[in-house]
Symmetry: C2
Subunit: 416 residues, 2 copies
Amino acid sequence: MSILQIGAGGVGWVVAHKAAQNNDVLGDITIASRSIEKCEKIIESIKGKNNLKDSTKKLEAKAVNADDVEALVALIKDVQPDLVINAGPPWVNVSIMEACYQAKVSYLDTSVAVDLCSEGQQVPEAYDPQWAFREKFEEAGITGILGAGFDPGVVSVFAAYAAKHLFDEIETIDVMDINAGDHGKKFATNFDPETNMLEIQGDSFYWEQEEWHQVPCHTRMMEFDFPRCGNFKVYSMAHDEVRSLKEFIPAKRIEFWMGFGDRYLNYFNCMRDIGLLSADPVTLQDGTSVYPLKVLKALLPDPTSLAPGYTGLTCIGTWVRGKKDGKERSVFIYNNADHEVAYKDVEHQAIAYTTGVPAITAALQYFRGEWAGKGVYNMEQLNPDPFLETMPTIGLSWDVQELDPSEPVIHHLDKE
Amino acid sequence: MSILQIGAGGVGWVVAHKAAQNNDVLGDITIASRSIEKCEKIIESIKGKNNLKDSTKKLEAKAVNADDVEALVALIKDVQPDLVINAGPPWVNVSIMEACYQAKVSYLDTSVAVDLCSEGQQVPEAYDPQWAFREKFEEAGITGILGAGFDPGVVSVFAAYAAKHLFDEIETIDVMDINAGDHGKKFATNFDPETNMLEIQGDSFYWEQEEWHQVPCHTRMMEFDFPRCGNFKVYSMAHDEVRSLKEFIPAKRIEFWMGFGDRYLNYFNCMRDIGLLSADPVTLQDGTSVYPLKVLKALLPDPTSLAPGYTGLTCIGTWVRGKKDGKERSVFIYNNADHEVAYKDVEHQAIAYTTGVPAITAALQYFRGEWAGKGVYNMEQLNPDPFLETMPTIGLSWDVQELDPSEPVIHHLDKE
């Protein structure tokens, strides 16, 4: 048995550690990225933490340009893995899927959100390029598992679990995501600042009454009491799983919400007001053309540098409302992840941890034959039970909280 | 008679308009800057507004690099002006003074503040490079008038007026500067963003009890009720005139204060926190090195673009406390300038207007022989009376307000 992991950023870091901790099932591990040094640094951390469970199995670094399908095919043929995991950026999903198709090897990734802000790449079309591989994967006899992070990923499994066990009829699905942790910096992003800032300023898309609704960012807000974290304001945002949930778990309204503190939003609004969050280049007085977001990225702390001092919890979950046995029901299925616990386990923070642990949980289902159907699958299409049994054993617990079944109060905020 | 004006930015714009309105005294006008197009645009505006009082006098544009002393000397010899006015940036003061000395022509500028933040260029040393020309100017039989804007400039004349007419003994001199105008933008600076942002984040220097005191920006605050503008918070800041007032008008404490609204300070703090106000370059992922402040400059509105829609008033003045006829006395000598009035007069906003009008007021004193002593002078060294008689006739009125002679309440704010 063996896996080939592509990507050596924050998520790649956690995926590799978790794969190593489970290499009795996953076998040999090859980590490949554009920069072989980044892969070697991860391997060093895995060995330093004694995270390689079966030390007779291989753990290797390779260099590859993940945009280059031919190079990927050559690498896959060389490594001969049973599964390719894209733990790198989502914009290489399609080239890696094409390489897997050509090399006839199964595939798994953690996110589709390349750029949910640009025309033709927004939520309603988000999965189109990857869903186009359905027949090809079936025909090749391989498995594709899409969006196996936390959100998308576990939140979709939570929805499938709710549909299977907790409800006869689902009314609304709200994915809720907050980070109540503290990195001690005045302002920093938890993953790539460029991606993060593009993501949070795009219009939100939600599905309601059989159609898509598009609204400007931070204009739909609600307050929610998160277990162990307390009351937070959350804002409707464009996010991948809304698209796939709409496809596979019918509901009257499906929406994604992210928590932003007032302090974070103040920085965000200032940066947006002065034009620093623009995706368009500006020309400096000396004629140099620069992208403001790339300047911001260079100014802000490297997200991976936040991990050592990070404290506090995240809370991500799926809030489902509907009917069971003729009665109204409302449940919140969720995880709390602790930044310090994540750091002790894999030397990284909880944001990457909550993405990396589910990817390996899903990979384990594939290797055990639980999730090994031929074709391309989103997480909510697959049996939630074995996945939810495995996940707590490798780092992330989950719980179900019964809520008062009243309607959520959504505030419509006017923009300045 | 004739003048040579160097500089064609915001202040240059106003200086040229005002010179044209007074060309019966000042004679032919030559405007020179690195970009001849900017000079030509000003000439077009002057002609469009019919601001050339005596249309038989010349109004010409020339190109010059003001860093190049030889080129300046050649230009001065070609134009043969009676006075050279530096209406451009203060960092060319010294090269223009040197050229004036070599060509034996009198000199006037509006500010010394190159960079009051950097070691060796702070308030205590601010005038050293220009004061070094005192003997040379005397020997050459020419006049140098330094800092003939509003602040420095008129505020120093106000202090001289107070010393001459209103006080027997001066205790404190506080220069107070607020802009209560509204440009309608979320965030913009009234002059070059790079200079502005460097200036306001530097340590403040004030003179008290025979020594210099250095404190971080925005840590000394007081509230003051400005005529026609109301109550504003003002913060102690490094500014040129504190240095020259200390030299020529003895007082126990001399300090400069600038008003910043909470909204402005919030933008400022956000930009500083993320590193955008740093004077040091950052390296982007692709290896390009850029100066954050130059990126900010490219993002923010061009200060000259703010003028057409600008409304409201500025209030700048000198608050003097001391004794007269044995009694405690406190007076505020000030001007209110109106952005809309400034725009109607010269197609520019009040910030540049309050700098340009005093420069031409001072030039008129030179041409009338009131301020024509040989050597180098700061404004407070010269007779305030003819200057204060002329200034209202060419655009800026002034007034004296008697205040309750109690001590100002200075708040010491702790930094985060």
